[in-house]
Assembly symmetry: C2
Homo-oligomer: 191 residues x 2
DNA sequence: GTCTATACTCTGATAGAC
DNA sequence: GTCTATCAGAGTATAGAC
């Protein structure tokens, strides 16, 4: 992956920024090219289509979640496992800009709904939610599990004032773990 | 507002559906017109621009949140007030399809970022978060307050299986109130 | 209040020179 | 690996008939 050209990487970075800031559909290839100081045609040398840029952005992230899910399926279904799962998830999320990718996907869910890789991501995220809040458990339990994941994704931009990214991540993780613990207490109180 | 023509209302309904499902930018006026069985030009009789359709969709919602914020500012800053605030917010949200509007806005944040009414909504939502988790309180407290609001917005589509909308709303409200209560307990544990 | 017809702009994408 | 030139299609929007 690192033997790719520098331009290719720069295209990915600029595209991710613009897609997240202005939206996928609202960002034209002309805009990306302009910010890079090249022409549209140059982009087409590196990526066959606009959709291909998105695909390249998502792939690493998909692999990481798949790996994490594989691990979870070898573990017993306990609170400790779910805590550990959330911790690993958070760790991976803040590596290699994967939180940026998740933010991009969240903000462009609808525009990307026909993108195969994006569908795959939605599918994997449902599996993540299934690990943290299996079907058959109470509604509030499952909702809290989903919120735990969202807390990790959103802590970066939900907390505004002058605090560092590390503090944001720590707060997100703490709140997520709190939600997991609460779930454990009420998990079987109603179905 | 009810003295408006039926066609106008139908345009709003179809537009909201398509904007939410396929995304704002990805939805063309041709698509909306086709689904309604009219021509593009007919749309332009009722709305001056595509952006105007969005504006008309948001207005009611803006008024309701403003009203709620006005109420909050006459109240003392206590846990009871915040619980009451959340309950009223939830009630308003599920009236007149306002949850649909919020979902549309959440899913199209980026595409709508230059829309004045959408900016106004973001601004009001920051005030809502400020009521529930004032600046100066702990980071986790504020994050939980934000998650409480998100729980209300998201309960409708975060819970998939065969449960009714009423059950979804009830679960969302319960989880939101839980988060508010927790915040009260830890509010001053750190700044 | 809704139509047809049309103007104009921008989009993603391709072909072929350097 | 990047360029110029160009394409067809779709976008929003307008003018004017009915």
């Amino acid at each position: 992956m690192r033997d790719r050209s520098d331009t290719r990487t720069r295209i990915q970075e600029v595209a991710l920024d613009l897609f997240t800031e202005h939206g996928y559909e609202a960002t034209s290839l002309r805009e990306i090219a302009e910010r890079l100081g090249v022409t549209k045609a140059a982009l087409y040398y590196h990526f066959k289509t606009k959709e291909d840029i998105v695909t390249s952005l998502i792939e690493d992230r998909l692999a990481m979640i798949e790996e994490l899910l594989d691990w979870a399926h070898t573990q017993p279904d306990t609170v400790e496992m779910r805590r550990e799962f959330v911790q690993r998830y958070a760790e991976h999320l803040h590596q290699g800009g994967h939180d940026k990718v998740m933010r991009f996907l969240e903000r462009n869910q609808t525009a990307l709904r026909d993108n195969p890789k994006s569908e795959q991501m939605r599918d994997l995220m449902l599996h993540v939610l299934e690990v943290l809040g299996p079907a058959g458990t109470s509604v509030t339990f499952r909702l809290k599990s989903a919120l735990a994941v969202f807390a990790l994704h959103a802590s970066t931009f939900l907390l505004r004032d002058g605090i560092s990214d590390e503090e944001r991540h720590a707060a997100g993780l703490q709140v997520a773990l709190d939600l997991i613990d609460q779930g454990a207490a009420e998990r079987h109180t109603r179905v």
